[in-house]
């Protein structure tokens, strides 16, 4: 049954409905795989075998009774990033601060997954409170990239991406504040999607930077991502920033795109995303992708977005500012860790000691940076200016989307770097999100689809496709067409070239 782990989510769902295989067998195959390889990959923080098998059994009972499937993904296993709450399972956000915390409610995304009959295998590792680009900032240890276990799987959703690339789950959920779905997708050879901000509920998503955070699908194919996108998306009255508009038809777009015709589609190449700091193999893969899109009939246009040069600095002021506010809730009073409460210390002292003990260095650094940027005397120069940059970036996108349907770039400037390589150099680490950040600041949709392996190190490279807000389907159409053509040209899906992992017995 080990072949089950290599099937796509769409294939698995079809087999389950056709009674070719049971959902329990599918879940068990993935649980076995987790047992065999996760000691090396460390994608999961928590695996709930019993609950996963119960959920799968319920799907099998529906199939046996002839009841209609709860969704097109009923019975398919999924790995959930540990930043989303799930009743009855611990949520840690990769932090000691929340070690052992069992949330008393489900996130809306979690609830939708459960209602769709999707089998949640467990919670995946992540950079603490979603701050990082490598999953080295987890308090529970680093996740390893299945392509090369000495390298990072991206971050902050490295656990979710690694679970896909290690064939531990066919689907995963990530969250993307500055690229935390797309960058891990790129460096693990998987598909990662940041939907339009406000189209997937943030209720139950532990907040890092509220104006940027967005949950989204992670998968091994564009169609699988689209199917998951439609399960989790939609308006939620429990989230005051949720957009009350119909979801873009992403599944239809993915199916249409797979036919491979991009005639009439205008694709803009962002000229700012090239040059110094970009790995030659990444640029070569990107150029090959551009040529491929042209062959499919797309019209390629160079587009300049000059304000994108200011996106990284603006992000690293806005996100820490919002984080310094959001993480004030970890005050040792109502939930989470409490340190130093010996009846002699004040609440303020206990709070300071707890936050010192509970937060890791990256979180502390960002809290202090945000405190600085928001402080009197610096506000206008830093935070206020960053918010102006945000306007300029939105204007650049508006101008670009006035002439092209989608914009493209490499997803990341480099392939997966070695674990520890950038650990003591925050600015070098932050540059991993150079290309992904503008879409978070503007709130529009963007995805990463594998574009091949870099010539210089043989590691995966991602192609980023950005779409206007609420036009997510445009990106899916282009990505699916590109994916089909690339698979045909490269002799099959890139993900099947992941080296065999040593299996624990």
């Amino acid at each position: 049954m080990t072949d089950l782990i290599r099937l796509t989510a769409a294939e698995l769902a079809a087999k389950i409905q056709a009674k070719d295989v049971s959902a329990v067998e599918v879940a068990q195959a993935h649980l076995d795989r987790i047992g065999a390889v996760d000691s090396a990959v460390h994608a999961f923080l928590h695996v709930d075998t019993e609950r996963a098998l119960q959920a799968a059994k319920a799907v099998d009972e529906d199939v046996a009774a002839g009841r209609p499937a709860a969704s097109p993904l009923a019975g398919v296993p999924l790995a959930l990033k540990d930043v989303l709450t799930m009743q009855g399972a611990p949520t840690t956000c990769g932090s000691k601060m929340l070690e052992g915390w069992n949330p008393p409610y489900d996130a809306t995304v979690t609830l939708k997954l459960l209602q769709a009959g999707i089998v949640i295998l467990g919670k995946t590792n992540m950079d603490e409170f979603a701050m990082g680009s490598s999953t080295e900032n987890s308090a529970y240890g680093t996740t390893h990239n299945p392509w090369d276990l000495d390298r990072i799987p991206g971050g902050s959703g490295g656990g979710s991406a690694a679970a896909l690339a290690a064939f531990e789950a066919p689907l995963a959920i990530g969250t993307d504040t500055g690229g935390s779905i797309r960058q891990p997708g790129s460096v693990t050879g998987t598909v990662g999607v940041k939907p339009t901000y406000g189209t997937v509920s943030r209720y139950g998503l532990v907040a890092f930077s509220s104006s940027l955070d967005q949950a989204g699908p992670c998968a091994r194919t564009v169609l699988d991502a689209a199917l998951l996108h439609e399960v989790i998306g939609g308006h939620d009255p429990l989230d005051s920033t949720s957009i009350d508009a119909p979801l873009p038809p992403v599944v239809a777009a993915a199916r249409e795109g797979a036919n491979g015709d991009l005639s009439g589609v205008r694709v803009g190449v962002v000229t700012q995303f090239a040059g110094d700091g970009y790995q030659p193999g990444v640029l070569a893969s990107f150029e090959a992708a551009v040529a491929q899109l042209k062959e499919l009939g797309a019209e390629i246009v160079e587009v300049s977005c000059p304000s994108f040069d200011l996106a990284l600095p603006a992000y690293y002021l806005i996100a820490p500012s919002e984080c310094s506010s959001n993480l004030a809730r970890f005050d040792a009073m109502r939930y989470g860790l409490r340190v130093g409460d010996d009846a002699t210390r004040s609440a303020e002292e206990v709070m300071s000691l707890t936050r010192e003990a509970g937060f890791g260095p990256e979180v502390k650094r960002r809290i202090m940076l945000g405190t600085y940027a928001l402080s009197s005397g610096y506000y206008d120069a830093y935070y206020g200016s960053a918010q102006k940059v945000r306007t300029l970036i939105s204007r650049d996108f508006d101008a670009a989307f006035g002439t092209v349907d989608v914009l493209i770039s490499p997803t990341t400037p480099t392939t997966a770097f070695r674990i520890g390589e950038r650990a003591n150099d925050p600015m070098a680490m932050y540059k991993a999100d150079l290309c992904t950040i503008p879409s978070n600041l503007a709130g529009n949709a963007a995805l990463s689809v594998p574009s091949g392996l870099s010539d210089d190190d043989g590691l995966p490279v991602g192609l980023q496709i950005m779409s206007p807000a609420l036009q997510d389907h445009r990106g899916y159409r282009v990505a699916a067409a590109y994916e089909a053509a690339r698979n045909a040209a490269q002799g099959g899906s890139l993900i099947n070239r992941v080296p065999e992992l040593e299996v624990a017995h």
Binding site: L310, R355, S385, A469
Partner: protein, 99 residues
């Protein structure tokens, strides 16, 4: 000349309720200074007449009907508390007097 001194980091840590160690003060002073210098170029637009964007989606007040609906029970709310007593959160003293 660094723009963020060790003393400033200590002040920021106090404001943020972080009891950082001496070693961390040295580490963060260097790193925060490096980051602040790298992000300072956003100041290029400070004097320009550009409306700031605080949020990708225009925000409006969201109202719901003023109806009682199920929430967490007292037991659920207290279940994850570091300390509880008599059905309430037990917190360290918040005023300055002796405990």
């Amino acid at each position: 000349m660094p723009s963020i001194s060790r003393d400033e980091v200590a002040h920021l840590a106090r404001l943020a309720r972080l009891a950082v160690t001496e070693e961390e003060l040295d580490l963060f002073a260097g790193q925060l200074d490096q980051i602040v210098q790298a992000v300072a170029k956003v100041g290029d637009v400070a004097d320009q007449d550009i409306p700031p964007t605080s949020h990708a989606v225009p925000l409006t007040n969201v109202f719901r009907a003023d109806l009682v609906r199920p929430g967490l029970t007292q037991q659920q709310a207290l279940a994850a508390a570091p300390a509880a007593e008599d059905g309430r959160f037990r917190v360290p003293r918040i005023l300055g007097e002796e405990a």
